[in-house]
């Protein structure tokens, strides 16, 4: 029996995949429904380019395989959004920067290729903070992304979080069932929390960085964003795996996360880091944290108090390490090999570099490249960069010691709910503080996930974060599932776009 087309956009990854397999609807019908929803949602500015033909072609291939009785893949018939940080062959890939405008890669990133191989199709390239530098999706050259959520009774455009803001907005608005994200210091988890969806950053090295526009290579990690823990597990399985083209890729088998999901947490100990109870944290956030503890206890887990003593130093260390790596990675944008070239009259090579980079990079990118250049410059390297790398070692050691007394950690994802676009413009530091709870797990390379918990008094979603041991995505997903089952988060933004 065919479902009405309008209903298909309310389905997630698993429901679409299983529905296509059982013949409840065709992959083409699903792709058409989401293509239509994307076309109607331009007010969100979630996509930089849309690729309806890609989604349709992938869907038709799936329908043809089904007709032949062939297996359809773990993501068969699921159209997804692709963060515009992943190189997609023949499709403009910009990192939301003017300096890459018009760049059409000659190759496909490993992660996107794996998703197409698993049967997924692409709805389009999703907007993000420029070079993934930002926590509000306000640094894109292609304009801000609007969250589909608004405060109850208000009309101000809200931030979808960042840097994966196009991903979070499109999933929350039901114009994509799932999307890729990347997380350097919270860029999957914070936007997931702001938009009332789920997202997981796996252990560093699980997903290949090959073909992902580099920001800070020792931190960058791709992961899925979707509306349920199950959907994240399915999609992460498709994205992860060893890739010889990435020197830091983990040479380990990919576990069957979806099949092993288990929300029974009896025998598990969940750590509550006392240092995460910071001054200025929103009362509603603390309340959701208390609720999260109760849910996990209800699932059979034992709640234990833990210490992560270097927590307050994680964020400033991150703001040395990430800009330092960015200043090095972004040296490649020189106006010679690809992307923008600005060649003033009678300019030499050096002037061309400087003019190209001045014209091509946005303010936040310039700020971080300058900070990175400064902390790596002669005379300051040890005081800033080496010191930050030592503190990174201490942050990682805090977690290692915590694993002696707990199996996973529960914390808020963010210190506040979403805020109106433009409201944190005055001081870059205020924006950076958004990632205070997310950055420690990034510095330690640990798997971490955000799942929706509840709405605050303004009707905005709040997320809870679970951090796990290295390689224990299963433990993170299981705790996330236990919260999901008890939170019963069904809220969705009222359509205004």
């Amino acid at each position: 029996m065919l479902a009405p087309v309008t209903d298909l956009t309310s389905l997630g990854v698993k429901a679409i995949r299983d529905g296509v397999v059982s013949g409840d609807f065709t992959a083409r019908e699903v792709a058409e429904a989401f293509n239509g929803a994307v076309a109607e949602a331009s007010a969100l500015n979630a996509f930089i380019v849309t690729t309806p033909d890609h989604a349709l072609a992938a869907a038709e291939a799936i329908d043809a395989r089904r007709a032949q009785g062939e297996p359809l893949g773990t993501m068969g018939g699921v159209p997804i959004g692709m963060k515009d940080l992943f190189a997609t062959k023949g499709v403009q890939t910009t990192a939301a920067s003017h300096i890459l405008e018009g760049f059409k890669p000659e190759y496909e990133s490993t992660v996107s290729q794996k998703l197409w191989d698993a049967g997924a199709g692409m709805l389009g390239k999703l907007n993000l903070d420029q070079f993934a530098m930002g926590s509000s999706n306000e640094t894109s050259y292609f304009g801000n992304v609007s969250s589909p959520w608004r405060k109850a009774g208000a009309n101000a455009a809200m931030s979808p979080g960042g840097s994966s803001g196009g991903s979070s907005a499109s999933i929350a608005a039901r114009i994509a069932p799932a999307a890729t994200g990347t997380d350097t210091g919270g860029s999957i988890r914070q936007p997931a929390a702001f938009a009332g969806i789920s997202g997981i950053k796996p252990t560093y090295g699980r997903c290949s960085r090959w073909g992902v526009v580099a920001f800070a290579s020792s931190l960058d990690q791709a992961g899925p964003m979707a509306r349920s823990v199950e959907d994240c597990a399915i999609m992460l399985e498709a994205m992860a795996g060893f890739d010889p083209k990435d020197a830091t890729s983990l040479d380990m088998p990919v576990p069957n996360w979806e099949a092993s999901l288990n929300a029974d947490l009896r025998g598990k100990r969940i750590g509550i880091p006392r240092e995460y109870r910071m001054d200025g944290t929103d009362a509603a956030i603390l309340e959701s944290w208390e609720q999260g503890k109760a849910w996990l206890r209800d699932a059979g887990a034992e709640i234990v108090d833990i210490g992560l003593p270097h927590t307050k130093y994680a964020l400033p260390a991150y703001y040395i390490i990430a800009p330092a790596e960015a200043s090095s990675n972004l040296a490649r944008y020189d106006g010679v090999r690809y992307g923008l070239r600005d060649l003033p009259e009678r300019a030499g090579l050096q002037d061309m570099y400087a003019a190209t980079r001045a014209a091509g990079f946005g303010d936040e990118v310039k700020r971080r490249v300058l900070i990175g250049t400064y902390v790596l410059s002669a005379g300051f390297y040890d005081a800033y960069y080496t010191q930050a790398q030592k503190i990174r070692a201490l942050v990682a050691r805090d977690f290692e010691q915590a694993w002696a007394t707990c199996d996973a950690i529960l914390a808020p994802t963010t210190p506040t709910a979403s805020f109106p676009l433009g409201s944190l413009d005055a001081d870059p530091l205020t924006m950076y503080l958004n990632d205070v709870f997310a950055v420690p797990a990034s510095l330690a390379g640990l798997p971490a996930m955000s799942v929706p918990a509840m709405l605050n008094a303004d009707g905005l979603p709040l997320g809870l974060q679970i951090v796990g041991k290295p390689f224990d995505e299963q433990g993170v997903l299981d705790a996330g599932l236990a919260i999901q089952q008890r939170a019963g988060f069904e809220a969705r933004p009222e359509r205004w776009w």
């Binding site: 020792s218 083209k245 992307g339 070692a393």
Partner: protein, 100 residues
């Protein structure tokens, strides 16, 4: 430590980003705000702590010493490499004259 306009101009030059006087002026307090905030790292006792270089223990691999071991990243890709160049001429990247 804090930076003045001359220092920011020097950093911008090292980073090959052209900046007007007005941009430099605007950048000085922003960079100082960030640098003053990261100063707090100096208060941490790091005696005997090795700077972290690899976040997850992993060994560095060497690829097989074979020509075009992976055709995707192997040789013979001149046109693909040049396909996105703002100025490609005669099979090379074109740049402004660098010798007088």
């Amino acid at each position: 430590m804090s930076v003045d306009k001359a220092t920011v101009a020097k950093i911008a030059s090292l980073a090959r980003i052209a900046m007007s006087d007005a941009e430099l002026e605007r950048m000085v307090p922003e960079l100082n705000g960030i640098l003053n905030w990261v100063e707090q790292l100096g208060e941490v006792d790091v005696t005997g702590v090795e700077p972290m270089t690899a976040v997850i223990p992993n060994h560095l691999r060497l690829r097989d010493d074979v020509v075009n071991a992976d055709p995707l990243t192997g040789g013979g890709k001149r046109d693909a490499v040049l396909a996105n160049a703002p100025a490609a001429e005669h099979g090379f990247f074109g740049v402004p004259k660098v010798i007088e």
